[in-house]
Symmetry: C2
């Protein structure tokens, strides 16, 4: 069958871990919602219950919380071919503490909670897909949570730049500071220093 580019990207993402028949592919696609957001639009805001988990087919978004002083802490940047959302709120149906905002015009495919549950009943292979997806994410978050605690800000910056060069060039230094966990002023110093070396 002839799929849209966005659906092709998703099916290729899924086919890393499981093989689907034509019928299963069509069934899967029928469970998704297409979403488009402009730069600076919110995909969701703190206080809401996460309605969807998102696959990004185009663009870039930031997921962040605001602390008591109103300072942002970015927990992830998400670009094409990545998954994002607030998994905790999506699963528990409790209000989220996260904002998700597009840093560029972005296009996404969303799966609602009802369709996510239905997906496992209709195509049990997806248990395997998500088992492997979550396992891989878990491995990288375990590493990240250790590094956040044991590396200096400069080391965290260098590591991020090395791991995600495509992202560094698409975001502001200020947002990168909010991700690394430092002030924009100190981020500026680090970048000046690193460039001088």
């Amino acid at each position: 069958m002839n799929y849209k580019e966005s659906h092709k990207l998703l099916l290729s993402n899924v086919s890393r871990f499981i093989n689907l028949t034509e019928l299963e592919k069509q069934k899967y696609i029928s469970l998704l919602t297409e979403i488009k957001v402009d730069k600076r639009d919110f995909l969701m805001q703190a206080g809401e219950i996460a309605k969807y988990e998102y696959f990004i087919t185009k663009g870039c978004l930031k997921v962040y919380t605001l602390d008591e002083e109103g300072a942002p802490h970015i927990s992830m940047f998400a670009i094409e071919d990545y998954w994002t959302g607030d998994l905790s709120s999506f699963m528990t149906k409790e209000p989220s503490r996260y904002f998700i905002k597009a840093t560029e015009h972005s296009e996404l495919l969303g799966i609602s909670r009802e369709n996510y549950d239905l997906l496992f009943r209709e195509i049990p292979k997806f248990e395997r897909f998500y088992r492997i997806l979550y396992q891989k994410s878990l491995i990288s978050y375990i590493r990240r949570s250790n590094h956040g605690i044991s590396l200096t800000a400069e080391e965290r910056y260098l590591e991020f730049k090395k791991k995600y060069p495509q992202i560094v060039s698409r975001i502001t230094q200020k947002d990168l500071a909010a991700y690394i966990g430092i002030t924009p002023e100190f981020m500026s110093k680090i970048i000046t220093k690193v460039n001088r070396m």
Copy 2:
């Protein structure tokens, strides 16, 4: 059937997410290895390939790395009814950077990589079990990786104490410092301050 206490604990842990028939329970148990370690024994050391994922039926262990200066960074404490191991090395079969050491006499059930793979083929329901287990772990590591970056050491200590009071009372202050990401001296100051309040 009449199961050992350790197997009962594991089966009850698994039954949170999936239901097994008697036959499946017996099959599952047949895939496990019983392991006992004394206080200060290593379950595994950096450089080795993680042979097992472990379920703890008794005791307490710490999972840690050593940095270039030889300073330990504890990534988790694991007690009864928790799972531990180095998931990354277990999956990729690359050498681990982690040490796992018993802080008390401990008893565990290990599943080898061959049996883990076999488990999914023999009892596909386990895809669901691990999908949910990893999903829940992922949610808590996402939170932890944000907190590691955005909270002060005192806030991280208070949060850990609140979330895991059973663990705080079983480990040394020094190990807690290596988990929180600070020096033992500063940990001592925080505790003195918090107790004074």
